[in-house]
């Protein structure tokens, strides 16, 4: 096992990108993700890569489009307001079926919002990143080590599906220091060829990277092709963790930082005799709706905990609706972090379970 080192989440994700064989980064400063580009600004040149601070998030995401279309493993990172600006490029990246990794270290919103951790971009990440009929693959780490592992997975998934992958974390994960190890290291020279990339049409037909289809029949065909990819993701790539589902009477559903805090709340509740379980989605798209649906066959009360006024809770409601389970919600937002005690109080309000 590789040795453990203490690293800040943002820097650990940056190093994980390098370990994933990413050699190109285009970004723009925004709090609370600044350590990530700062790290890559010296680390990428060290391994023969390119770090470029763009003139705007809009430009950065379009640079990612260009580099991804040119065949490179490429990444950008930002935080909520910056992701809104990157949305233009991300839609084109999805439309042109380019692999790229985007990191969102969420902060409170809307508008300029604040700079403290939040989970209020769930809708944006999973439903409405930008115009057009497309999905991002969305991964939500709840520790620094998991952020490292998912970053490497993100690059592999992006290439596998030729689709943008979003690593959705929050300022807490980005700013927190934890021991991490880097088990994998990918040499970019060993990556499979991308015969579709625009790297000069030497001795072959020209390649075109494009998202325009003026013929509606063609565009519909393209949309259906994208849909098939998303269906395949839903079939094959769903990831989640579960705790105590065997004996639980109340099940918490939470992701990322909220899941970590909910785990503590779950332990506190169990000490007091409440039979609480937990489902932690790791992929937010594809969403682990089947395990939630299956769990709802025997569980009457779900508690969704988020650092928002309630976004993922809608997906939980959809997943349980066939069994008429109650979905309760507890959220803190605007940069406020729920405490285990607050969540415990919610569990007690729901009652039962004891």
């Amino acid at each position: 096992m590789a040795k453990k080192i203490l690293m800040k989440g943002n820097e650990a994700i940056a190093e994980a990108a390098v370990k994933a064989g990413c050699r190109y980064f285009f970004g723009y400063p925004i709090t609370p993700q600044n350590e990530l580009p700062a790290y890559l600004s010296w680390r990428l040149p060290e391994v023969g890569g390119v770090f470029l601070q763009a003139e705007s998030e809009v430009a950065a995401s379009n640079m990612v489009y260009g580099a991804a279309g040119a065949g490179a493993r490429v990444m950008t990172s930002s935080s909520s307001p910056g992701i809104s600006l990157k949305a233009e490029g991300i839609s084109y990246i999805a439309g042109a079926e380019l692999p790229a990794v985007i990191v969102n270290m969420m902060r409170g919103g809307p508008g300029l919002g604040g700079i403290q951790p939040a989970q209020s971009d769930y809708f944006q990440a999973t439903k409405g990143m930008a115009h057009g009929d497309f999905r991002l693959f969305v991964l939500a780490p709840s520790s620094v080590q998991e952020a490292v592992d998912l970053t490497i997975d993100a690059f592999e998934l992006a290439d596998k599906y030729r689709n943008p992958v979003l690593l959705l974390a929050d300022g807490m994960i980005g700013q927190m220091m934890e021991p991490v190890s880097f088990e994998r290291s990918i040499d970019p020279d060993d990556l499979p060829d991308k015969p579709w990339a625009t790297d000069g049409a030497e001795g072959r037909e020209k390649n075109i990277i494009n998202s325009l289809s003026l013929d509606p029949a063609e565009l519909e065909k393209h949309n259906q092709k994208l849909k098939e990819k998303y269906d395949q993701m839903e079939k094959e790539e769903v990831r989640y963790e579960t705790y105590y589902l065997d004996d639980a009477d109340i099940v918490i559903v939470a992701y990322g930082t909220s899941a970590r805090i909910s785990l503590s709340a779950m332990e506190l509740a169990r000490e007091e005799g409440y039979k609480v379980g937990l489902i932690r989605p790791i992929t937010l798209f594809p969403f682990p709706k089947e395990i939630i649906a299956k769990t709802s066959e025997k569980i009457d009360d779900f508690l969704t905990v988020e650092m928002s006024t309630g976004q993922m809770v809608e997906d939980v409601e959809l997943a349980v609706c066939a069994n008429n389970s109650s979905v309760h919600f507890y959220g803190r937002t605007g940069g406020m972090i729920p405490t285990p005690e607050e969540i415990l109080a919610e569990i007690k309000k729901i009652g039962g379970g004891k």
């Binding site: 489009y65 260009g66 040119a70 233009e88 790297d199 001795g203 020209k206 075109i208 990277i209």
Partner: protein
Amino acid sequence: MQVVAKKPDSLTDKDFHYCPGCTHGIIHRLVAEVMDELDIREKTIGIAPVGCSVLAYEYFDCDMQEASHGRAPAVATGVKRVHPDKVVFTYQGDGDLASIGTAEIVHAANRGENITTIFVNNAIYGMTGGQMAPTTLLGQKTTTSPAGRKKDIAGSPIKISEMLAVLDGAAYIERVSVHDVKHIIKAKKAIKKAFKMQLEGKGFTMIEVLSTCPTNWGIEPVEALKWLEENMIPIYKPQVLKEAGEGE
């Protein structure tokens, strides 16, 4: 039998969709002839814009990427940083480059991004139906300036080449026109020089090409050539605006 005229290898057989009398076709041909003459077709990646030349990716017979509106210089930056040994060019109109894409073109030029931009200025939005562009002349009638562009409402025509020429990263900026044979020959020379300078790693090069839009100007093609000469040339003077000397 001797071939005296042929389609450049760097153009595909696809028919242009451009309106009769539009000079995009001439400019496409000039770029393709330069690619042929420099033997760079197989190492060139072109970036198409949004606007009338949005389908340029179908016409140039080299690798192409289609960018979102105004972002071609950012896309080109991404491509060039991955393949610094390849030739990268953007082909952009005045709505794309001089309006929505001002940030991208300014910063690509300022970074000295080693790419070539072909900036086609016809003083109007063509594809969307003849709206006022930042390059529209004062008094020029468009669908969004029906009484003619007024300075106190919409400002004056923007002179992008002059603006970019002051940036250290700009190695070569020239404005040319294609309204007559003499100017077309000059335009080709300028385009060739820009690509050559890119091959030599000199930095950012841009050729602004004054172009016609008979359809949206609402005049006959021949008259459009004359209109360009009489109305655009006095405002947008064809000239070398920047040429980085040796040792710079």
